[in-house]
């Protein structure tokens, strides 16, 4: 009996050992995260963007890996002043719509689909969505709510009751008229063309609509109405406005013209399955099936790559050596990215913050306005080991940048002074701070990072260790918290400093300079009201303009050369005052099996473009 069991076991095990199947007709992409939503007008993250990118087409696209050259897609022409499709001093973009393009359900692409797409996106405009990027150039406001409030002349809460019904007949009429007067004229169908009118010339507009991440994706009008999206009518459009993402029927459905169609989104396994669309207007893709699965555990991803089960995996840089030693695996290092990891200061910490010790300059904490003192900021700036971080921790996969503007962007100037690790300099600044008292008293504070982000943890620890080297009385505790806690702390202005990254929405310096250095920027906003004073103060460096004004003007400047110069000036200024510490611009690594052919990298793409691949 025992012998029999043994033989049976051996038999079973040998079956297990040899039952591996290779899949020449499939790509398995083991990623880190699952999409947030597949509604192109709601998705704002790269995981969602990657799927949308492969399922939908935009009017135009980037030419391969370039961030500046475009090629026509659903529009047969890339509008420019030269070819006459960019008109009215750069405020009207004309897109002739390609014929013979079919959606996955067999419907033909029409100019009406394009018009519907843009109007639906703008009217939908969910909170925390990406649609501001289109609304800003077309209407000059950030949200459709602002537009409505301005048009109707009443606040949103007054216009609508809690169930999103207009509170009066007049408001209802005004809302209907709003569509006819504001939205409808901005995007028009003229014959086979779609015209989009901007409120003023806006240089990055083509970058925005060409982004594969969603907001430029063209959806099928008929299908959309059928599954319950906006019905295309002016009456009651507001019922289709601002849903939460799970309310949108497009949350896990997709109907595009792209090279792949969505087969299924298996939430339990964080798995997306795409299948080749044989009727793709450019000709069908080489690979039949694409599986994108979120696998949180690194060891599992690695193992799957090693066994050939996964073709592409997301890999943290710390495992570079391991990956490089693997057989049959291609590792591409040092791919540029469009993001910056930085350390920001809170100039006005809320006194109830648990992270500032006693809240006083008594050696057991920091005062709430600690970082308003530029000596402190500069002391911190010279206490971080930028080169060491990049060389040792990131395995060389990072760029030491002077400000929070990534390399490759207009206005980037490598010759600008960069902060370096210089403990003596730092000591000098610290000795100056608070008239020398800081040096004597020392300080205690917490630096937080979000758990799971090892780079940020290490960065905080480097800062901690160096500060202690300068003066052992400078004590920093590095604390890991969960992302929600981290964001909550930032929102409540109780974080003394925060290490955080910014990923470009579109490749334009405005997207970084405004974010980081304008007092209303997404990050500048968190420097506190004391920073508002600072940023609105007229500056001799800017010929009497304030920092805020300078940033605003730079974004409107149409002459690229002048614009570049303005950005350089802004950067010089922010370096002198150490407004934020640009820790590094990360460089990406790419890991896939050798047999994957046709890989093209574009830093602004949300992910892989499987249409190009073969095996």
């Amino acid at each position: 009996m025992k012998k029999f069991v043994f033989i049976l076991l051996v038999g079973l095990l040998s079956v297990f050992a040899f039952s591996q199947v290779k899949n020449p007709d499939m790509i398995f992409d083991a990623t880190l995260s699952e999409p947030d939503t597949l509604d192109p007008h709601h998705a704002y993250d790269t995981a969602s963007g990657e799927v949308i990118f492969n399922v939908y087409d935009n009017l135009i696209a980037y030419d391969g890996g370039s961030m500046t050259d475009f090629i026509p897609m659903l529009s047969t022409v890339v509008p420019s002043v030269e070819n006459g499709y960019l008109r009215d001093d750069g405020t009207t973009y004309v897109f002739p719509i390609r014929k013979g393009v079919k959606f996955h359900n067999g419907n033909d692409l029409t100019p009406e689909d394009v018009e519907y797409t843009f109007e639906r996106g703008i009217l939908y405009d969910p909170a925390a969505g990406p649609m501001w990027m289109l609304i800003e150039p077309i209407f000059g406001a950030f949200t459709v709510r602002d537009l409505v409030e301005e048009y109707v002349g009443a606040s949103w809460d007054k216009i609508f009751d809690s169930k999103m019904n207009p509170t009066s007949k007049e408001y209802e009429t005004a809302l209907v008229n709003f569509y006819y007067d504001v939205i409808d004229p901005a995007i028009e169908v003229v014959g086979d063309e779609v015209h989009i009118h901007l409120v003023r010339p806006y240089a990055p507009f083509l970058n925005i609509i060409c982004n594969g991440g969603g907001w430029g994706a063209i959806i099928d009008k008929e299908y959309s109405i059928q599954i319950g999206l906006w019905d295309g009518k002016a009456e009651g459009w507001w019922k289709y406005h601002g849903w939460t993402k799970e309310q949108s029927p497009l949350f896990d459905h997709a109907m595009g013209t792209g090279p792949y169609k969505l087969v299924e989104w298996d939430h339990a396994q964080q798995r997306i399955v795409l299948e080749r669309f044989d009727g793709y207007w450019k000709g069908p893709a080489a690979i039949k099936t694409v599986v994108i699965q979120g696998i949180d555990e690194w060891s599992t991803r690695r193992a799957m790559l090693e066994k050939g089960d996964a073709d592409i995996i997301a890999a943290p840089v710390q495992y570079l050596d391991v990956l490089k030693s693997m057989q049959g695996v291609t590792v591409i290092e040092g791919l540029p990215t469009v993001q910056i990891t930085s350390l920001g200061f809170n100039w006005e910490i809320k006194p109830e913050s648990p992270y500032i010790g006693s809240g006083q300059l008594d050696g057991n904490g920091i005062p709430t306005d600690f970082f308003e003192d530029e000596n402190v900021r500069l002391g911190f700036a010279y206490a971080f080991d930028y080169e060491g971080m990049i060389d040792e921790i990131l395995n060389g996969l990072g760029i030491h940048v002077p400000t929070a503007l990534p390399e490759g962007f207009l206005g980037f100037d490598a010759s600008l002074p960069k902060y370096t690790l210089d403990l003596e300099k730092a000591e000098n600044y610290f000795r100056r701070a608070y008239r020398g008292r800081l040096w004597q008293q020392g300080f205690k504070m917490d630096v937080l990072y979000n758990i799971g982000n090892e780079e940020r943890r290490v960065a905080a620890e480097i800062l901690r260790d160096n500060l202690a080297k300068i003066n052992p009385k400078f004590q920093v505790e590095v604390r890991g918290v969960q992302w929600p806690t981290y964001l909550d702390a930032r929102e409540n202005m109780i974080l003394p400093v925060y290490i955080i990254g910014w990923l470009a929405d579109f490749p334009d310096p405005h997207n970084f300079i405004f974010t980081y250095y304008h007092s209303q920027g997404d990050y500048g906003h968190y420097y506190g009201t004391k920073f508002v004073e600072f940023a609105t103060l007229p500056r001799p460096e800017f010929g009497g303009k304030s920092l805020n004004k300078m940033i605003e003007d730079a974004s409107l400047e149409t002459d690229p050369y002048k614009r570049e110069q303005m950005y350089v000036d802004i950067q010089k200024f922010v370096i002198d005052y150490a407004l934020t510490l640009p820790l590094y611009q990360p460089l990406a690594i790419r890991v896939h099996r050798d047999w994957l052919k046709g890989y093209v990298y574009n830093p602004i793409w949300p992910g892989d473009y499987y249409y190009l691949y073969s095996k």
């Binding site: 066994k307 929600p484 929102e491 955080i500 990923l503």
Partner: protein
């Protein structure tokens, strides 16, 4: 007994209400902002404006006071709506239904070796009380009992996947998954191995089995330790009983004395443990599911907790508590069936 069960059934809603109240009040310790941040993609949240935050708070009803929120939650619960699972990206109820079969399949497969071997080892140890075999089994149990499950699970993965290549992580191979998800494959029970057999797909059956053996090995030792300790001490106690002596005095062979007279009595307390184990397995596989990337309730709960996805947390806890309560009830009833002394009592 019957009154006891009726009493328990009557208390059931009260206890469930208590569970939800405790779990829900824990959410009070989080501010609305933290709760909100779970609904939004982290990177998106970092880019959100003040106004976006206000709108979303309202949309998700996070500004309401605690009793209102709890009332809403209970009302929805009665309608069968457990809310939206951020982690699962689907309604919580669906998320639970989709993940539960994976856990239950794992638990079922783990159960046979655990109970079989556990009881066998326990009885063997007791019969050979204080002998070499007994000591060996005790040490085996002690180590299993003292072994942190995550360390052992990693070692199993290391040995059997990386080293030998036998038992890969995950639920199914990709090719098998394609077939399982296709229209031609009928899901009768949602348990992969059983469905595979019902569909006549031996290859998929093997594949599913291959994926389940690793976690089963990882779980087994720890639970063996538990079960065999109880079996052993129960058996030792029974072996001292008069009726065992009676059986011997009748001239019954030792095998019959142990396997018939002693074991049946010794297993009565073991049944309770084994029953609790079934429930325990359903909720205690968190670590193993995480390490082996199995998409069951455990890994769902862990991710939900890590990301503070409160709707999912509530759902999982409610669901598992229900399992626990009902499971215990079933144990009590089966206890009565096994032990004739209780039946009429």
């Amino acid at each position: 007994m019957t009154t006891y069960i009726i009493r328990r059934l009557l208390l059931l809603p009260l206890i469930i209400l208590g569970v939800t109240l405790i779990v829900f009040s824990m959410s009070q310790l989080l501010g609305p902002l933290k709760l909100l941040s779970t609904y939004v993609d982290p990177n998106t949240y970092a880019k959100m404006s003040e106004r976006d935050i206000q709108i979303l708070m309202k949309q998700y009803g996070l500004t309401d006071p605690f009793p209102v929120r709890y009332g809403k939650w209970v009302k929805n619960l009665l309608k069968g709506d457990l809310g939206w699972s951020v982690v699962g990206k689907e309604p919580v109820l669906d998320a639970l239904i989709h993940r539960f079969p994976y856990t239950i399949e794992l638990a079922l497969y783990a159960l046979f070796p655990i109970i079989g071997v556990g009881i066998w080892l326990g009885v063997t140890a007791a019969v050979h009380h204080n002998s070499f075999i007994d000591q060996f089994i005790r040490i085996f149990a002690l180590i299993g009992w003292s072994l942190p499950d995550f360390v052992w699970a990693i070692l199993v993965l290391l040995i059997f996947y990386i080293g030998l290549g036998w038992f890969p992580p995950g639920n199914l191979s990709i090719w098998a998954n394609q077939i399982v998800k296709s229209a031609s494959f009928k899901n009768y029970t949602h348990l992969l191995t059983i469905d595979a057999l019902l569909n006549g797909r031996i290859d998929i059956f093997w594949d599913a089995l291959r994926h389940i053996i690793g976690p089963v090995i990882a779980i087994s030792w720890l639970w063996w330790a538990n079960l065999l300790r109880i079996t052993r001490s129960s058996m030792l106690e029974v072996l001292r009983k008069d009726y065992v002596r009676t059986a011997r005095s009748k001239g019954l062979p030792e095998k019959v004395v142990i396997n018939k007279h002693a074991r049946k009595n010794a297993l009565i307390p073991v049944v309770t443990t084994a029953g609790q184990m079934v429930i325990g397995l359903l909720t205690g596989v968190v670590i193993v599911e995480m390490v082996f990337v199995r998409t069951g309730l455990g890994s769902f709960a862990a991710t939900a907790a890590q990301q503070l996805d409160y709707a999912s947390i509530m759902g999982v806890l409610l669901f598992t508590s229900l399992l626990l309560i009902i499971g215990n009830l079933i144990i009590d009833i089966s206890y009565a069936i096994i032990d004739p002394r209780i039946r009429l009592g």
